[in-house]
């Protein structure tokens, strides 16, 4: 029995991590809804204490039937202890005794009653910039540590900790305005920001910029969970939220097929559709149908592209014309060179590699594009389609010089080795 050297990230561990994250998120949301949005730090501290206690006790006594209630009880006692110790009698009276009862008007039709959605909206407060919103959500709602967030942003643990405390200080300064749940009007106004933050979170998990893993599955899974919550919540449900949830379902459905056993990426063309998660694809199609009611957003269009791949029975059955039409819409909405790069790859696959290459080359005037590895990878792939081997190899080499995540680097090296 040599399982003491067992790998840390086995399936049980992943389920456990997800369970802990889920319970912690719910717990903090429940605490913030009782203590007020200006007491996020207190809520986090006592939630952490409760989680530690739980993980110390549960291995012996088993997971209680209602872990959430167990945690909330422990956290509440911690909060009372702490406030007493600090002799903050005034706050003690007001915050704990006054506000401990479940949030006052859970059935108020003007206020969202889901504490987790409220917490998400709080972390995406307009007074914070986007990076702060994102790392605060990752920390408070999803329970990632400063070190984990640092890995994600290629920055140090202490730098992230500093930014987190700055963000929380700002929330604290906003004080009493955060003490009551947001009205649906505020929720609507903030929804676009929240969706953007969830989208960015998924992107960070889906394609880590550098480092050892191809997919930070835990981060992407959390983003998908938030997207589903937003789509299903009465206050935040909207065509855009449904479109985002659809997009993330489609992308997540390919996780298992996207990574080879050795960690290297598997391109869409070479993926085994048997490995796609059909349940997630069905969820995605369902969200996509319900997203059709309103204004077209980039999430709609991106979900459209992803759906073309998801419903094609095989690579040669993909409806490239539909893909290109979606890309044209996306270009119109975003005017982004990254979109233009992806569009030209689709164009090449649709049977017009020459045209695709010309379009791609016209982007290189932008210096940032010229330093962007995916641009050179796209170029290399298209040249490879055209059997222009020497030029293709040169582009792979340039891509490697630009730098990307370790598994993609390995993939590029393999391409170079096999492309002779």
């Amino acid at each position: 029995m040599a399982n003491r050297h067992e790998k840390r990230d086995g399936e049980t561990r992943r389920v456990l991590n997800r369970f802990v994250r889920r319970e912690r998120g719910r717990l903090i949301a429940g605490l913030v809804s009782r203590l007020g949005g200006n007491n996020v730090e207190l809520a986090e501290d006592v939630a952490q204490e409760a989680m530690l206690k739980a993980l110390g006790v549960w291995p012996f006594e088993g997971i209680p039937e209602a872990p959430g209630a167990w945690l909330l009880r422990v956290a509440r006692n911690c909060a009372i202890d702490r406030l007493r110790r600090e002799q903050r009698e005034l706050l003690y009276d007001e915050s704990i005794h006054g506000r401990w009862a479940p949030p006052e008007t859970p059935t108020d039709p003007d206020r969202s009653s889901d504490p987790e959605v409220q917490l998400m909206l709080l972390c995406c407060h307009d007074e914070l910039d986007q990076t702060h919103q994102l790392i605060l959500t990752l920390r408070v709602v999803n329970g990632f540590t400063a070190r984990e967030i640092g890995d994600l942003f290629l920055s140090s643990e202490s730098a992230v900790a500093q930014r987190l405390s700055r963000a929380k200080r700002k929330l604290r300064q906003l004080g009493p305005t955060l003490a009551t749940p947001l009205t649906n009007e505020v929720v609507r106004a903030r929804l676009e920001t929240v969706l953007r933050v969830v989208y960015l979170m998924f992107s960070l998990g889906y394609a880590p910029r550098r480092g050892g893993e191809l997919i930070r599955r835990d981060v992407a899974d959390e983003a998908l969970r938030l997207a589903r919550d937003l789509a299903n919540n009465d206050a935040t449900t909207s065509p855009a939220a449904h479109a985002l949830a659809a997009l993330l379902c489609f992308q997540a459905s390919r996780f298992d097929a996207r990574t080879a056993a050795d960690g290297a990426p598997v391109l869409l063309r070479d993926q085994d559709p048997e490995k796609w998660d059909r349940r997630l694809i069905d969820d995605g199609l369902c969200f996509m149908r319900t997203s059709m009611a309103g204004e077209l957003t980039r999430y709609h269009v991106e979900a459209g592209i992803a759906s073309c791949y998801a419903v094609a029975p095989s690579w040669d059955k993909i409806d490239w014309q539909a893909v290109l039409t979606y890309y044209d819409q996306l270009l119109e909405l975003t005017d982004s060179p990254v979109v233009a790069i992806n569009r030209s790859v689709a164009e090449a696959f649709s049977g017009a590699p020459g045209q695709a290459l010309a379009r791609l080359d016209s982007l290189a005037a932008n210096a940032a594009v010229d330093r962007y590895a995916p641009y050179h990878i796209a170029r290399a792939e298209i040249l490879r389609l055209q059997r222009r081997r020497a030029e293709s190899r040169a582009s792979y080499r340039t891509a490697i010089e630009c730098g990307t995540s370790a598994p993609v680097m390995r993939h590029l090296e393999n391409r170079l080795a096999s492309n002779l």
Partner: protein, 116 residues
């Protein structure tokens, strides 16, 4: 099938100076083990003891004295008890070898439960 008590000892200050991250990581190892062991019927659960000193009650000349246990001065304190099902002592030892307690602490004392 017999029942064995795993007495999980640790140094008194083992968990007091750990960062929350490291403590969480360790506790997750225990949780992971427990979930597997509960599913397979190896472990019946047990009891976790609170950190910090307890009280010692002694009888003396018809009366009682109560004093605090010398928790901090001990080299090892009992952290918790788990009840494990195994056909015999050797099998119980093998189960103990795979327990994360031996990764994060030094030893597990195994005692057979009488009459089980």
């Amino acid at each position: 099938m017999s029942k064995f008590a795993f007495l999980l000892n640790h140094a008194p200050d083992r968990y007091s100076s750990l960062s929350e991250d490291s403590a969480m990581a360790i506790f997750k190892d225990y949780m992971e083990w427990m979930q597997g062991a509960a599913k397979s019927g190896v472990c019946d659960g047990g009891y976790k003891l609170s950190e910090g000193p307890g009280k010692i009650v002694s009888s003396k000349g018809g009366g009682f004295t109560v004093h605090e246990s010398p928790f901090a001065e001990l080299t090892e304190v009992l952290g918790g008890i788990m009840v494990v099902n195994a056909p015999d002592f050797d099998a119980a030892i093998e189960i103990a070898k795979a327990h994360p307690h031996l990764v994060h602490n030094q030893s597990i004392e195994i005692r057979q439960l009488d009459g089980e």
